[in-house]
């Protein structure tokens, strides 16, 4: 069994991360009735005997004493991290896992990346090493951050770089929250594009998320509940947005529902690595199957179902609906429509009481309406995990390497160019030590190249299918 470490950077990263740890505890509590520290728990938590203080030894088997998250919390302002430490999750983190400062990064990528980067480099490396030492077999780093600000974006990508240098064998999965068009941070296009270059070059897989999509999903759920159209009531703790039953007892803040969706994404992504199933899908398999060319590692994700009705019997029709929803536009976590673009590869990770025949039936059913690239017509990676998420009898996570990310990147590029042509706000960046004009031009050219790669693939979409001729063997 392998371990993963979560590195949450910046305000958004820490808020999402906090929801993740909350839901992870809830999930394991539901499965692990006996309170024994097992391998599934050890993938994200350490078991520490804290009777002798925070520096107690790790306990590898036996009863759960005190669970500590395998996490690093980084923020250049104290507000968010302090709140976490005063909240119900305070015992899950110890002081050695935090790196904070006071003044923040002023929504400036350069401040986060160059200034705080070099200032905190040693501190970060040391803490990462410590966390890695506690792992028997570290497989993956999960970075959670937003792209539009200064800390998450700048310092977050600095940490990404660092991880590649210091731990080259460990996978780097990045969950990035992209800014929307009406983002109130004016410089978010600069920050995002500068961060994109780092993601292009140093991440193994990126799971982009857009606030607009999360917001729409939350609204959809509220509408369904309030409209009274549903015959039976919705099971409360089955909402993909809810934290009912978790440790948090305070009032839910507006972003909580949205952040819960992203937290659930990470939980489902790692479920097959933690729990058993008839067809396991580990994190290294996700990277292997979904990344055909090194730079094309952006995966569009969708989670279904969004809620469960209280009936116990789930006719297979509803199961099939779950599969159909996974491919619909309104379930994607970014503003994209994979059905009308080109698939390079697709992964389906099913949890719960679903068998291989259900999976096959739905793949056969949905395949005709999807466009797959010519050299990967059967490009499906599937996983079956027996343990469903809390409150559901089954669930599905779909990860698509699809050219529908292209519009997101193109819009980002447009917003960047609007500012850049006028040189608006550039001085805030260029006055930072280590920042030059070339940083900007390289970043935008990296993004343009990426868009071009997607364009080339799209061009093959409706063309004639010519299979290359096979090797000829002398008879």
């Amino acid at each position: 069994m392998t371990q993963s470490v979560v590195v949450q950077v910046g305000q958004c990263g820490n808020q999402v991360g906090c929801r993740f740890w909350d839901l992870a505890l809830r999930e394991h509590a539901a499965v692990n009735k006996k309170g024994i520290y097992d391998e599934a728990l050890s993938s994200f938590f350490r078991n520490v005997d804290t009777r002798s203080g925070d520096n107690g030894p790790d306990i590898y088997k036996g009863k759960i004493r005190s669970l500590k998250a395998r996490a690093l919390l980084i923020d250049m302002e104290e507000g968010v991290v302090n709140e976490i430490l005063q909240g119900p999750l305070r015992d899950v983190f110890d002081s050695k896992q935090l790196i904070t400062d006071v003044s923040g990064s002023g929504n400036n990528w350069a401040v986060g990346h160059k200034i705080y980067g070099s200032q905190y480099r040693e501190n970060i490396v040391e803490k990462l090493r410590k966390t890695a030492e506690h792992c028997d077999c570290l497989q993956c780093f999960f970075i959670i951050h937003s792209m539009g600000g200064g800390t998450g974006s700048g310092l977050g990508t600095f940490v990404l770089n660092l991880l590649e240098e210091e731990f080259p064998e460990v996978y780097r999965f990045v969950t990035s929250v992209y800014p929307s068009g009406e983002d109130d941070v004016i410089t978010s296009p600069y920050n995002s594009v500068l961060a994109m270059k780092e993601l292009n070059e140093h991440a193994d897989c990126v799971l982009p998320v857009e606030n607009e999509s999360l917001f729409e999903i939350v609204n959809k759920i509220h509408q369904m509940i309030n409209s009274g159209k549903l015959g039976s009531t919705v099971k409360q703790n089955s909402l993909v947005t809810s934290s009912a039953g978790s440790a948090k007892t305070l009032q839910e803040k507006p972003f909580d529902a949205m952040n819960n969706i992203v937290a659930n994404l990470l939980l489902n992504l790692t479920s097959s690595a933690r729990f058993e199933g008839s067809l396991n899908m580990d994190l290294n398999e996700i990277s292997m199957n979904l990344v055909p060319f090194p730079r094309l590692h952006y995966l569009v994700s969708s989670l279904t179902p969004l809620y469960t009705l209280a009936d116990v019997n789930v006719p297979s029709r509803r199961l099939d609906q779950m599969f159909s929803d996974a491919f619909s536009r309104d379930h994607q976590l970014i503003q994209a429509d994979p059905k009308h673009s080109l698939y390079l590869a697709c992964a389906l990770l099913v949890r719960g009481n679903v068998q291989v025949s259900d999976l096959r039936r739905n793949i056969e059913r949905l395949k005709p309406s999807l466009h797959f690239v010519s050299w990967n017509q059967e490009g499906w990676k599937t996983g079956l995990c027996s343990v469903p998420p809390v409150g559901h009898s089954h669930s599905l996570l779909a990860l698509a390497n699809n050219t529908c990310v292209k519009p997101t990147f193109m819009e980002l590029k447009d917003r960047f160019m609007k500012l850049y042509k006028k040189k608006a706000h550039l001085h805030h960046y260029l006055q930072i030590d280590g920042m030059e004009q070339s940083c900007f031009s390289e970043a935008i050219s990296s993004l343009s190249d990426l868009i071009e790669e997607y364009n080339e693939l799209d061009a093959t979409k409706d063309g004639p299918r010519i299979d290359p001729s096979r090797l000829k063997i002398a008879v």
Partner: protein, 450 residues
Amino acid sequence: MSIVTVQLGQCGNQIGHEVFSTLCSDIRGTHGLCSKKENESYQDSCKERFFCEEESGAPVARAVLVDMEPKVISQTLSMAASSGHWKYSSHSHFCQQQGSGNNWANGYSVHGPRHKEAILNLVQKEAEKCERLGGFFTTMSVAGGTGSGLGAFVSQCLRDAFPTSFILNHVVWPYGTGEVIVQNYNSVLTLSHLYHSSDALLVHENDVIHKICARLMNIKQISFRDVNQVIAHQLGSVFQPTHTAGGGSGYSRNPLGDLLEPLVPHPELRMLGLRNIPQMPQSSLAYSTFSWPGLIKHLRQILIANAHMEEGIDWQVRPPQAGSSIPSTNKPLHFNTSIANLVILRGKDVHSVDLGSFQDPSLYTSWLNPRDAFNAWKTPRAFNKYEKSAALVSNSQFLLKPLDSIVGKAWNMFASKAYLHQYTKFGIQEEDFLDCFTTLEQVISSYTNL
């Protein structure tokens, strides 16, 4: 003689468990339909072949379990132990933490050399427990990373360490519409490597078994466990003790040798397919009766028409006219030409069965005498509660189309260079791929021109 089983990867371990389970429940059953003496002899022979007795009395499977991550092995060990009737030895498994990530190169070039000694030690220990070692039976899938990559490496090591032993590789081909995206690459790499080190490949295809589950076994929500149980039943019907043709009154003492020697006369042609008849849900067995002529007729047509099961057989397909000398290139395209066949009959009245129809020369290629090309084993002891059952192990064009399809898809992907960076980073280069494609195109060509 004893057979040591090596279970590789998730699929190999899951199937291996079902096979031992089936073998054990078969010998414990009282539906032998034969004399008590015969039944006891059968049980003893099966136990010697597949299990060793431990002091505690419960039979211990002669098996080595290998996987690069722990979940499946630990599940397999505990399922066996909780059955109460048999178990695995607690010292015969090897596992790591990380898995192979569906990457053949990782399994073959990294895990293989790294863990070779430990794995071979375990195999050696199992081999030493056998009074007479009859050979090795490995089981794995070709689609993933461990079974396929590490499996190919281990198979090669077995060949080097035991140059005179028989090695039969049981391989499972994945569903055509994808379980793993790079499954075609992994399949091509595995099959070409195994071709050089094993004596024969015994192939099961998930698509085919799935159809059997759906149509014959009436299972509504088919799980991998169902698929594996059908595979286990088919394997059991081949490997449970039998009387071979010249074997005298006892059960065969050389199961793998007796199987492989007649079926693999030519080194280029070593892919074996398996068919079994009848197959139905256990609950229907009590209400069904069969006649041998009917079973044999269906089995023969399954062979000729390349059918997968006793339903949906194309009865229009006929062998070319006997007596006329039609060159092999003119044989009707959907007719399945055989090199060699083995039919294994078990149950009531086996000795009265007439298998002359299988000796028809028109079924076979011209370069082997049909008397040598066809063999039959008959055993009065019934298998797995089936009053009468027949298995066909065939070296024929059964697997030609599916193999061609796998190679075609892999080539298509290779031409676009997709995913190659995942393999090159572990040391498998484009030239290695080309060598493997060449090997398999050669195999395809050999089978096409029968």
